[in-house]
C-alpha cells in the first residue's frame, strides 16, 4: 500500500482546521498564519497529486480503497481523473487567497467573552470546507461523496450566517437578521436537495447493490447490471436535483444571491468558486456516469433550463444595485454555460465545461475579492455609492477591470477559451442552442461594463476622495490570480491535456460521438 496521497490531501486541512480552532483566543494572528500555512501545504500536496497523475493513464489514478462501513457497502474509495485533479488544484489554489483576503474579516468587534473566538472559528471552518470539498472531488464511492457533499453544508452555513459584512446598510441588527436568513435559505435549499439525493442514493444501492462508481459503470457497460428505464430516470432526477440546487440552475438559484450578498467576499468566493463547483462536477461524474440513458433522456429539459439560466442570470445581473448580488447573478449565468457544456454531450462542450469550472473559479475569485476590498473600504455594497474610484485607486480599478473582462470572457483571458468551447460544442449539436447562448456574451459585456462605469469612472464621489489603493496583502491576493487568468488564456494546454482523456471517458460512458463536419476540409 503506497502512501495515501489523496487522503493526506484532504486530511491535512481537516487537521489544520482542528488545530486552528484550538488556538487560544488571544493568539488570533497565530491562528491566521497557521491557517495560511496549512492551506499552502495543502496546495503543495495537490500539486504533487497533479504531478503524479499521468493524463494518458488509467481513468482513475492514485486510487485508495479501505473498508469503512461494510454493512452499508460503503468504502473509503478515492481516486482522481483529470477533471478531479483540475478541480482539486483549483480548490487548493484558491483557499490560500481566500484566507489571505479574509485576513481581517473575522476580527471580533469587541471581546464578548474569553471563550468567544470568532477568528479561529472562521479560518477553521474555511479549512474544514476545503477538506470536504477536496474529498468530494476525490471520492469514487457514491455514498462517500454524498456524505461530504452534505457535511460541507454545515461549516458553510456557519460561515455565511456567522461572519457577514461589517459594512451594512441598516445597522448590525438588520445585518444579523438578513445574514441568518441567507444562511438558513442556503442550508435548507441544499439540505432539501441533499435529502432527495439520499433517497436516490439508497435507491441506487437497492438497484445496483454497490456504491462504487467504477464498479457500477463497468457493470452497466458490460451489461451485467440492468436498470429499468424508469428506475434510472427517477434516480437520475434525485441526483440531478441535488446538483442543480448546488450548481445552481434556474429556478433553484435564488439562494445564491442572498448567500453571496450577505457573506463576506472571501466566503462568497468560497461558495461560488469552490463549493458550487462540486455540483457541476458531480453532474459530469455521477449523473452522466451512472445514468447515461437518463441523462440523454433529460438533456432537452436541462438544456432549456441552462439557457434560461444564462440569459436570465445575465439580465438580472444587469438589474442589480448591489455589487455582490450582481456577481452572484453573473455566476448563475456562468453556471448555465457550464451545465450547457456538460449536457450537449460533445467533447468540446464537456472539455469546455470543465475548463469553465476552473476558469470561472479564478475569474470570479479575482473580481469578487477586489470588490470585497472596495466594499470594505467604503462600507457599502450599493453600486450607487461609488464613482470615480479609478481616479483615486487606479490599481484597484485596474484589477477590478481585468476581473470584469475575465467575467465577460474577453479573448486572451482564461474564461474565453472555455466559454468558446462550450459554445462550439453546443452549436455543433444544437445550433439554435448555441446561437441563443451566444447572446450571453453581449449581456455579460453589458453588466460588467455598466458595473465598471458606475463604480470606477466619472467624477470622484466626495466620500471616496480618501480611498486608499490596494495594499500589499491585497495585491498579493489579486496579482497571482490575474497572472493565472492571462496565462491560462494564452496557454491552456496544460489544463486541456489534463482534461481531454477524462472527457473521452465520459463521452464513452454516455456512448456519444461528436457530430462529424459537413465536409472534410481540404488539408
Amino acid at each position: 500500500m503506497s502512501f495515501p496521497l489523496l487522503t493526506a490531501t484532504a486530511v491535512l486541512p481537516a487537521l489544520g482546521a482542528v488545530a486552528t480552532a484550538a488556538v487560544p483566543a488571544a493568539r488570533r494572528t497565530a491562528a491566521k498564519w497557521l491557517a495560511l500555512l496549512v492551506s499552502l501545504a495543502t496546495l503543495v500536496l495537490a500539486v504533487v497529486v497533479a504531478v503524479r497523475f499521468e493524463p494518458g493513464g488509467a481513468r482513475y489514478q492514485l486510487t485508495e480503497t479501505y473498508e469503512w462501513i461494510p454493512a452499508f457497502g460503503v468504502r473509503w474509495e478515492l481516486g482522481v481523473d483529470g477533471i478531479g485533479v483540475a478541480l482539486m488544484l483549483l480548490t487548493a489554489l484558491l483557499i490560500p487567497f481566500i484566507v489571505l483576503a479574509g485576513w481581517h474579516d473575522a476580527d471580533p468587534l469587541e471581546t464578548r467573552s474569553k471563550r468567544w473566538r470568532p477568528t479561529q472559528g472562521f479560518f477553521a471552518l474555511i479549512l474544514m470546507v476545503e477538506a470536504m470539498v477536496i474529498l468530494s472531488f476525490e471520492a469514487t464511492d457514491v455514498f462517500l461523496f454524498y456524505i461530504f457533499f452534505e457535511a460541507m453544508l454545515i461549516p458553510m452555513y456557519f460561515l455565511i450566517g456567522g461572519f457577514g459584512d461589517r459594512a451594512h446598510q441598516g445597522g448590525e441588527e438588520a445585518a444579523a437578521t438578513q445574514r441568518s436568513y441567507a444562511a438558513v435559505k442556503f442550508l435548507l435549499y441544499n439540505l432539501a436537495g441533499g435529502l432527495i439525493m439520499l433517497a436516490a442514493v439508497i435507491g441506487l444501492y437497492v438497484a445496483a447493490g454497490s456504491f462504487s462508481l467504477p464498479d457500477i459503470v463497468a457493470a452497466r457497460a458490460s451489461g451485467e447490471l440492468e436498470m429499468g428505464a424508469n428506475t434510472e430516470r427517477l434516480l437520475f432526477l434525485g441526483f440531478f436535483f441535488a446538483f442543480a440546487v448546488k450548481a445552481p440552475l434556474w429556478p433553484l438559484h435564488t439562494w445564491l444571491p442572498n448567500a453571496m450578498g450577505e457573506a463576506t467576499a472571501p466566503v462568497a468566493v468560497l461558495i461560488t468558486a469552490v463549493v458550487d463547483k462540486v455540483g457541476t462536477f458531480a453532474m459530469l461524474r455521477f449523473c452522466l456516469g451512472l445514468f447515461p440513458e437518463a441523462s440523454k433522456w433529460a438533456t432537452p429539459v436541462v438544456l432549456v433550463l441552462a439557457l434560461i439560466s444564462i440569459v436570465y442570470g445575465a439580465l438580472l445581473a444587469v438589474g442589480q444595485r448591489d455589487i455582490k448580488r450582481l456577481v452572484a447573478y453573473a455566476s448563475i449565468s456562468h453556471f448555465g454555460f457550464i451545465i450547457l457544456g456538460i449536457f450537449v454531450m460533445t467533447s468540446q462542450g464537456q472539455s469546455g465545461a470543465t475548463l469553465y469550472m476552473v476558469n470561472h473559479g479564478i475569474s470570479t475569485a479575482a473580481l469578487m475579492l477586489v470588490a470585497g476590498f472596495l466594499i470594505s473600504r467604503r462600507g457599502s455594497r450599493l453600486i450607487a455609492d461609488y464613482g470615480g474610484v479609478q481616479k483615486v485607486a487606479p490599481v484597484l480599478a485596474g484589477t477590478f477591470l481585468i476581473g470584469g473582462l475575465a467575467t465577460l470572457s474577453l479573448p486572451g483571458l482564461a474564461p474565453f477559451v472555455s466559454e468558446f468551447l462550450v459554445l462550439v460544442g453546443a452549436f455543433a449539436r444544437y445550433p439554435v442552442v448555441g446561437i441563443i447562448a451566444t447572446f450571453g456574451i453581449v449581456l455579460a459585456a453589458l453588466y460588467t461594463l455598466v458595473l465598471y462605469q458606475r463604480t470606477m469612472t466619472g467624477p470622484v464621489k466626495p466620500e471616496l476622495v480618501k480611498l486608499p489603493d490596494l495594499r500589499v496583502r491585497e495585491l498579493a491576493v489579486v496579482a497571482p490570480l490575474i497572472a493565472l487568468l492571462i496565462f491560462l488564456g494564452v496557454y491552456p494546454k496544460p489544463l486541456t491535456d489534463l482534461v481531454n482523456p477524462a472527457v473521452r471517458h465520459t463521452m464513452s460512458d454516455v456512448q456519444e460521438h461528436d457530430p462529424e463536419p459537413e465536409v472534410e476540409a481540404a488539408k
Binding site: R112, I147, F148, L195
Partner: protein, 553 residues
C-alpha cells in the same frame, strides 16, 4: 357444550379425591439467563428497604450507589450472556417460555441499561439549583405529597427533604422496560408494560419547579396510559380467545395454521379471523401509544414538557427502545403470518407519524415540546424500518434505537443546564445567543440537533440511512421518499434552534448556563461521544445489531 370440552378442574372436583399428591413439579426458572432483570428488580426492592431503614441523610448516596451498581451489574450480566452466546446460537426462551433470551432482547436490554445509567446521573444531579437552606437539591420535589406553595412544602424544603424514592422508581421502570422487549407471552408483555408505566406516571409528578405542570403531565399520562393499556388488555384477551394461548410461539403457529392437535374449541375460534385481527390491532395500538405514533401521540408533548427534564430524557429514550422492541417481537414473531394485513396499515401510520411530527414541530416555541414532536417524527422513521419485514429491518431498527436514545438523553441533559430564575429556561426565545455566551454547551447541543436532523457523520445519519435502506429494500420506496421529505421539513426547526443559539444576539436578561457536577457532564459527554462514534465509525455497532437481529421462536 360437549363434555370433552369441559375442563378437568370441575370434573376432578366431582370425582372422589385420590390420595394426597406427594409432590408437584415446580417450574424451572433459568436464573442465570434472567439475571439482568433480577438484579435490577432486586436492587429496586433493596432501594425501597433503603428508603425504610437508612436515615434521611444517607439515603441519597445509598440509593445512588445501589442503583448505579445495579445498573452496571445488570449491564455486565447482559454482556456476559451475550458473550456466552445467548444472543446468537444459544438463544432460547426462559421461565417456562415467559421470557425470551435472544439477540434483540439482550441488545435492547443492554441499551436500556446504559441509557438508564446515563439517566441516573441526570437524576442524581444536585448542583444545578442553588442549595436551599444549605441542602443541595435535585430536580425533584422535596415532598410530592405537599401542596405546591403550601406551608407544608416550605417546611419540607426547609427540612431538606428530597424524594430519593425516584431511584427505586427508576430501577423498577428499567426492570419493566427490560422485560418488555423480552416478553415471550402476552401476559408478561402486559405486566411488563404496567411495571414500567406506573413508576413513570409517578416520576412525572415529582418535579421540583413548575409543579402544576408536572402534576398535570402525570394525570394526563396516567389516564391516557391506563386507557391505552385497557385496549391492550382487551386485545390480549381477543388474541387469547383466538389462539387459546398467550404464548407467542403458540399464537404464531395458530396464525400460520401449523399447529398440531387442534381441539374443537380451538378449531372454532381459529376459523374466526375477526378475533385475531381486532386483537392484533388493539395490542399494536397499545405499543404504538408507548412509542408515540400518530394518532396516539398527543400525550407526548404535554408529558414531555411537564415532566422533570431528567425523567423526560429517560422516558423519551428508554421507553421508545422498550416499546419498539416489543413491537418488533410482536410483529416479527407473533404476527408474521399476518404481514399482508398489518403492513399497509403500518405504512400509513408511519407516513402520517413522520409528516405530522415534523410539521407540527415547526411552530413550537418550547424546547422540550420541540424535542417531543421531533421524537414523534423519529418514531415515524423507526416505524419505516419496522415494516421492512426483513432481517435488515430488525437490525436497522436496533441500531437506530441505540443511536437515537443516546442523542435524546444527551439533548435533554443539556436542556437541564440552561436555567433562569424560574428553573429551566425552556422557552426558545431564551436560548437566543447561547452560542455567544457559552460556545461549548451550544456546540454540543448543536451536535445533538444535527444528529436529530440526520446530517452525515453523526449517528442520526447512520441510523436514518440504515432504516431507510432497509425500508427501500423491503419495497417501501414511497415511504422512504415521504421520510426524506419530512426530514427535510424537520431539518428546518433543528436549524432554527441553531440559528437562535449562534446567530442572534444574546438577550441581557437571558438565562445562565449552570455549571453541572461531573454527573451531568458525564451524561452529556457520553451522549455526545456515542453520537459522534456511531456517526463516524458505526461498523462495529452495525455488526452487533446485525448479529443480534434474530428473534427466537
Amino acid at each position: 357444550m360437549s363434555a370433552s370440552a369441559v375442563h378437568g378442574l370441575w370434573t376432578d372436583l366431582a370425582a372422589p379425591a385420590a390420595e394426597p399428591i406427594a409432590r408437584i413439579q415446580a417450574p424451572t426458572i433459568e436464573y442465570a439467563q434472567l439475571s439482568p432483570v433480577l438484579i435490577v428488580i432486586g436492587a429496586a426492592v433493596l432501594g425501597i428497604l433503603v428508603e425504610a431503614f437508612v436515615p434521611r441523610r444517607g439515603r441519597y448516596h445509598a440509593q445512588l450507589f445501589v442503583s448505579g451498581v445495579a445498573l452496571a451489574a445488570g449491564f455486565a450480566a447482559v454482556v456476559a450472556l451475550a458473550v456466552s452466546g445467548y444472543a446468537t446460537t444459544g438463544a432460547g426462551v426462559a421461565a417456562e417460555g415467559a421470557v425470551a433470551v435472544d439477540g434483540p432482547a439482550l441488545f435492547l436490554q443492554g441499551v436500556i441499561l446504559l441509557v438508564g445509567l446515563v439517566a441516573l446521573f441526570t437524576f442524581a444531579e444536585r448542583r444545578l439549583d442553588p442549595a436551599t437552606h444549605g441542602n443541595p437539591v435535585d430536580s425533584f420535589a422535596a415532598q410530592a405529597a405537599s401542596v405546591p406553595g403550601s406551608d407544608s412544602e416550605k417546611a419540607a424544603v426547609k427540612a431538606g427533604f428530597t424524594t430519593t424514592e425516584v431511584f427505586p422508581l427508576l430501577l423498577f421502570a428499567v426492570g419493566g422496560m427490560m422485560v418488555f422487549p423480552a416478553a415471550n407471552d402476552l401476559l408478561t408483555l402486559f405486566i411488563a408494560l404496567e411495571v414500567f408505566s406506573l413508576p413513570l406516571y409517578l416520576l412525572c409528578a415529582l418535579a421540583r419547579r413548575k409543579r402544576l405542570l408536572s402534576q398535570e403531565a402525570a394525570v394526563k399520562y396516567f389516564l391516557l396510559g391506563a386507557f391505552a393499556s385497557a385496549f391492550t388488555l382487551f386485545g390480549i384477551a381477543l388474541l387469547y380467545g383466538y389462539a387459546g394461548s398467550v404464548n407467542y410461539g403458540r399464537i404464531a403457529q395458530v396464525v400460520e395454521g401449523t399447529v398440531q392437535e387442534v381441539s374443537p374449541a380451538l378449531a372454532g375460534t381459529m376459523g374466526n379471523d375477526v378475533l385475531l385481527l381486532i386483537g392484533a390491532a388493539l395490542v399494536t395500538m397499545g405499543l404504538l401509544f408507548k412509542v408515540g405514533a400518530v394518532p396516539f401521540h398527543m400525550w407526548t408533548p404535554d408529558v414531555y414538557q411537564g415532566a422533570p427534564t431528567p425523567v423526560t430524557g429517560f422516558m423519551a429514550s428508554a421507553t421508545k427502545v422498550a416499546a419498539f422492541g416489543a413491537l418488533l417481537r410482536l410483529l416479527y414473531v407473533v404476527l408474521p403470518g399476518l404481514r399482508w394485513d398489518w403492513r399497509p396499515v403500518m405504512w400509513a401510520v408511519a407516513a402520517v407519524t413522520m409528516v405530522i411530527g415534523a410539521i407540527v414541530a415547526i411552530t413550537q416555541t418550547d424546547i422540550k415540546r420541540l424535542l417531543a414532536y421531533s421524537s414523534i417524527a423519529h418514531a415515524g422513521f423507526i416505524l419505516a424500518g419496522v415494516i421492512a419485514t426483513r432481517p435488515e429491518g430488525i437490525s436497522s431498527v436496533l441500531f437506530y434505537l441505540a443511536a437515537y436514545s443516546f442523542v435524546t438523553v444527551g439533548a435533554f441533559a443539556v436542556v437541564t443546564l440552561v436555567r433562569d430564575a424560574g428553573g429551566e429556561a425552556t422557552h426558545l426565545s431564551k436560548w437566543a445567543g447561547l452560542g455567544r455566551r457559552s460556545p461549548l454547551v451550544a456546540a454540543v447541543f448543536a451536535v445533538f440537533l444535527l444528529a436529530f436532523a440526520g446530517i452525515p457523520l453523526t449517528s442520526g445519519f447512520a441510523g436514518k440511512f440504515a432504516v431507510f435502506k432497509a425500508a427501500a429494500e423491503g419495497g417501501a420506496a414511497p415511504l422512504v421518499v415521504v421520510g426524506v421529505l419530512s426530514s427535510a421539513v424537520a431539518a428546518f426547526f433543528y436549524i432554527r434552534v441553531i440559528v437562535l443559539m449562534f446567530f442572534s444576539e444574546p438577550k441581557p436578561e437571558g438565562p445562565t448556563v449552570a455549571v453541572p457536577s461531573p454527573l451531568t457532564t458525564t451524561a452529556i459527554a457520553v451522549g455526545a461521544a456515542v453520537t459522534v462514534v456511531l456517526g463516524v465509525a458505526p461498523q462495529y455497532f452495525l455488526d452487533l445489531a446485525n448479529s443480534a437481529g434474530v428473534f427466537v421462536r
